[in-house]
Symmetry: C2
Subunit: 232 residues, 2 copies
C-alpha cells in the first residue's frame, strides 16, 4: 500500500518532518503536489469527510490524516517508528509536539504579525521577535531536549523514533536560519548537537540525503535573514 | 486512580482543554498548582525522565504526559473520550491539534513579538496581528470546523469527544477575546455556533460550570482588549 503524501511543492516545510520519517522507515509513498503538480488546495477542498485544514496530509484511499505530529503518531504506530508501549508512545508524541511548537515559533520570527504578508512588510517586528527567539527561546528548548535525551542514544531509548528524525529536521532548520547563533550555542549544549550528528549519520537516511527528494531549506518555515541572526 | 493535573493557578489557560475533558468524562483528578499552591516550575524540574517542557501535564505516579493535545489523546484512549477506531482516533487528534493552533494564534494576537514582555510593550504590533487574526484567520477556522462537523451532531459522529469539549473552550475563548467580531460572524457560521451551544448544554458539564473549579477567562491566552476586537 502506497501513501499519497500531500505537501506544497518546492520547499521542505512542515512536510519534511513527515517525509524524513517515511524515508527513514522505508515506507512507500508518492509525493503529491511537488512531483505531479497536482493542486493542493483543490485536493483539500475535495474531501467531504475528515478534511485537512492545511498540508501536510497523508491519504491512502481509506484514511486521510493531517497535522504533522498526528501523521507521525499514526506512522509510528503502524510502521514501528516509535516505541509501542503507552509511556513510549505518548512521550514520543509529546516531544514531536514540542518540536512543532519550536518550528512555529521559528516561522513567526520572520512573520510575527501577518503570515500572509511579505517579510519586508514586517521587518521591524521580525527583528524584535527574532531577538527574543534567539536569545531566550532557543536556549530554553535546547536545554529541554538535552534533559529529554538524558544519557540515552535516542529519545525513546536504544532505537530511533520519529521524534529523533523530527529533531534532526528542527536542528537543521534552526542552523539554516540562525547559523551564527547555533554555532555560539553548540558548546553549551553538546548533547543535542551530538544527537543531531547521530541522526544525520543514520544508514537509513543515506540514500535520502543523496537524492533530489531532499530539498534545501529556502523560503519556507526556516529562512535565513542575516539581520535576524543578530548581524547588522 | 487519581491523576495529578498540573497547571498554573488562577487562569483557565491551555489547562482548560484538559480540565473540561476530565470533568465531562467524570475522571478523578487533583488540581495541582492551583489548589495546593505547589510550585509548578519546581515540580517540572524534578522529573528526571519524560520531563514536560511546560504545563499542563498529567502525572499518575507511573506516567507523566505533557502537551495538551497529547494528554487528551491519552485520556481519549484510556477513558473512552474519543472513538476507538483508527480513523476516529486520528481524526479527533487532528481536530484537537488545529484547535490548539488557533489557540496559539489567539495568544499571539496580544503577544506577537515577545511572549515574556507586557502587552503594553507590543500594543502596536498586537493591533496589526489582531486585525489579521480577526479578519482572515477566524473565518478560515470557522469554515474548517463547519466542514469538519458536516451534518453530524459531534465531530466524531453521534457521541461527543475531547475535540468537541475542546472546541467549546476555543469558541468561548474567542468569544471572550473578540466578542464584537464573533457576534458579527455568528450569522455566517450557524453550524459551529449551534455546536458551541450544544456542548454548553451537555449534562456531563452542568456541575462543572456551576462549580468554582470553572474559572472565567482573564489574563491568560484569551484576553479581551477592546482595541484588538476592532474598536477604537
Amino acid at each position: 500500500m502506497t501513501y499519497d503524501f500531500w505537501y506544497w511543492p518546492g520547499i521542505p516545510g512542515r512536510g519534511e518532518f513527515v517525509r524524513i520519517a517515511l524515508e527513514a522507515g522505508g515506507i512507500a509513498y508518492r509525493e503529491r503536489g511537488r512531483e505531479d503538480g497536482a493542486d493542493v488546495w483543490a485536493k483539500r477542498d475535495s474531501y467531504s469527510r475528515t478534511p485537512p485544514f492545511a498540508p501536510p496530509w497523508l491519504d491512502n484511499g481509506e484514511l486521510v490524516i493531517a497535522q504533522t505530529a498526528n501523521i507521525l503518531m499514526f506512522l509510528g504506530e503502524r510502521h514501528g517508528l516509535a516505541p509501542d508501549d503507552v509511556k513510549g508512545r505518548f512521550w514520543t508524541s509529546q516531544l514531536m509536539l514540542t518540536i512543532m511548537d519550536v518550528t512555529a515559533e521559528a516561522h513567526d520570527t520572520h512573520h510575527p504579525v501577518d503570515a500572509s504578508a511579505y517579510y519586508d512588510d514586517q521587518k521591524a517586528e521580525a527583528k524584535r521577535a527574532a531577538t527574543v527567539f534567539r536569545e531566550q527561546r532557543i536556549p530554553k528548548f535546547l536545554d529541554h531536549f538535552t534533559k529529554a535525551l538524558g544519557g540515552a542514544e535516542y529519545f525513546g531509548g536504544d532505537r530511533w523514533s520519529y521524534a529523533d528524525t523530527g529533531f534532526f529536521v528542527l536542528m537543521s532548520g534552526l542552523n539554516h536560519a540562525f547559523p551564527r547563533r547555533m554555532v555560539a550555542l553548540s558548546g553549551d549544549y553538546p548533547t543535542v548537537f551530538t544527537h543531531w550528528d547521530r541522526i544525520a549519520a543514520l544508514p537509513e537516511l543515506r540514500d535520502y540525503f543523496a537524492s533530489d527528494r531532499c530539498l534545501p531549506f529556502g523560503e519556507g518555515i526556516f529562512r535565513y535573514y542575516p539581520e535576524l541572526d543578530g548581524e547588522g
